[in-house]
Symmetry: C2
Subunit: 387 residues, 2 copies
Amino acid sequence: MAVARTSPTAAHDLPATRLALLDEPLRLYRGGVIEHPVIAYEALGTLNAARDNTLLLFTGLSPSAHAASSPADPKPGWWESMIGAGKPIDTDRFYVLCINSIGSPYGSSSPTSIDPRTGRPFGIAFPEVSLEDVARGGYEVLRQLGIRTVACAAGPSMGGMTVLAFAAQFPGVARNIMSISGATAANPFAISLRSLQREIVRNDPAWRGGNYERGRGPRGGMRMARKLGTITYRSHEEWDQRFGRRRVPETTGQPGDFRAQFEVESYLEHQGQRFADVFDANCYLYLSRAMDQFDLAEHGAGSLDAAFAKFSGVQRTLVLGAQTDMLYTIDQQTLIAEHLRKAGVDVEFHAFPSPQGHDAFLVDNARFEPAIANFLAKVGEGLGVRG
Amino acid sequence: MAVARTSPTAAHDLPATRLALLDEPLRLYRGGVIEHPVIAYEALGTLNAARDNTLLLFTGLSPSAHAASSPADPKPGWWESMIGAGKPIDTDRFYVLCINSIGSPYGSSSPTSIDPRTGRPFGIAFPEVSLEDVARGGYEVLRQLGIRTVACAAGPSMGGMTVLAFAAQFPGVARNIMSISGATAANPFAISLRSLQREIVRNDPAWRGGNYERGRGPRGGMRMARKLGTITYRSHEEWDQRFGRRRVPETTGQPGDFRAQFEVESYLEHQGQRFADVFDANCYLYLSRAMDQFDLAEHGAGSLDAAFAKFSGVQRTLVLGAQTDMLYTIDQQTLIAEHLRKAGVDVEFHAFPSPQGHDAFLVDNARFEPAIANFLAKVGEGLGVRG
């Protein structure tokens, strides 16, 4: 049987990332099959003797499993301020398993995986990925590690949807849940934006119908798609405060010179370039579509009530969102909280007035950290100390 | 001296559009010169004997001067429900002059104008256009028609900014003003979106640095830019109500098939195609940039208070906006209203709860029509009947 092993991924500088090689083909939610599935993850803290102190963490679309620094990888992780010894997600207390999504280029099976039949990346021959499959990836890692229940399953953004998929698919495994800036299903505004982002990438001639050589993909399309993402991850208020109408040094002043004239344009250019440098375009298309396709109601034969009935064994839930989030609106967070209450689950819900929009969980530490710390203090009661 | 003449524009099927050929080169706000300036416009209603019943109307970025149908052109105009005999902008009472913006492809001087030195369109050799120049176009039409003051200067969206530029540049000409869903200056969120739209167009290889053949321009880029516009012209609420997550007939189901799966995607495709069919790409780039660059405070040496002091001769102003407008936020409408009050101008301000966002003025007739009708009833008091 294949077992989890410590191994740097080939493609990326992620020395703390481990690979779980599954011993069976993985049948995907929409029907495809991954013949030799791999799930990448990072682990922080220590699994206790009772094996009941795991905090299972799903990510947004773009991060790797490197959620926080550790001796194995001292680089700051994507949720560095939240996770660590004595931090809100306390690695002295919890065994934190951060799961790299199937479909992501950071180690798990994805369009960048090598197809053994051709010796080349699958590209768009890779089967369609759903958030149910991403959740399943977390479940398979637990199985390999001999963990039957987790103290908490959690995730922000795409991870906030994935954690709902996890609870619906594997009732009884997560004893507590945190869904942060997620949704039961994307609304048409978010769908429109992501659909356009995918179209921008696909219209870059360098995409070549998905058959680009590694390192020669649709960089321009990815840069512009990320700019659109970045614009919508924050809020008016945030952009007003940070940039206003401050200008960059004058361009040539020629009428045909359309380069950046405002600071906010330069900032977006930087963000777009950075993303285009590291993220595979086909992976982006797959995960972006998975976010649009996800609908928790499918787990209740079209009824959200029926889907949330599967959460009835959950002890406590924490639902967090920002009022300024334009992608996953505060109404969508409220909907999650209301349905959980209706299902008889204990719910703590905060609609924070953070100015940072969808990204607030990454930056509005003053609001998100105490809420998560307090919730996990309750979750942690009665857990054994570290094994 | 060149005079206004009735003439269909060569490029478009706009039989009611007239061309004012100016007899002097036009020095533009940012320094360029148009040697043989032309301003296209349409006129509805009758100028009275006192020549004081004009309603001067500026447009958004994309419409022509065909604001409403008439015997000369029975096609519906872009504000058909608002303008006509007995309608809120009543052509039995007002002489409505709708001005085609300099920089627009519908008849006024623009990148599509023929450069007499080359016999080909100017393209990006056309000088930079500002909203001050668009306002100036309206002023020049008035001069040609022998109109010294107008009963009202009005405009929605880009026109809502242009009307502010008009009042600041030509104090005393507009006796009353309506600014609808406009702003004193674009905020960084709107700048970001438009900057990205321009980048999408410029990154289409068919743009060819602005030197495309007519009819062979960056259609894909224009289609995607318009989709982004359309997404942001409305609101979450509107998209939720109209489309929700309704699906279109299944695509092939192949993982590499990224075509539309949701109705909202098909709708946007239709809108994008339609715009790409009719609007010149360079004109789009010019007017889009003009909206970002506009800052009314420039007319007060950096002070909005000083700029609005130039409005002190205005009798009445109507400021309208939608609370759900994500491009020109309701805070920006409030700012206009507050500054007008501070300048001692009579202000009527409505922050409508319309669900249709920036486009509400085009569709939320139940709110916008009575507000405009009531305002113009006051404006019309004391006007002579038709000349």
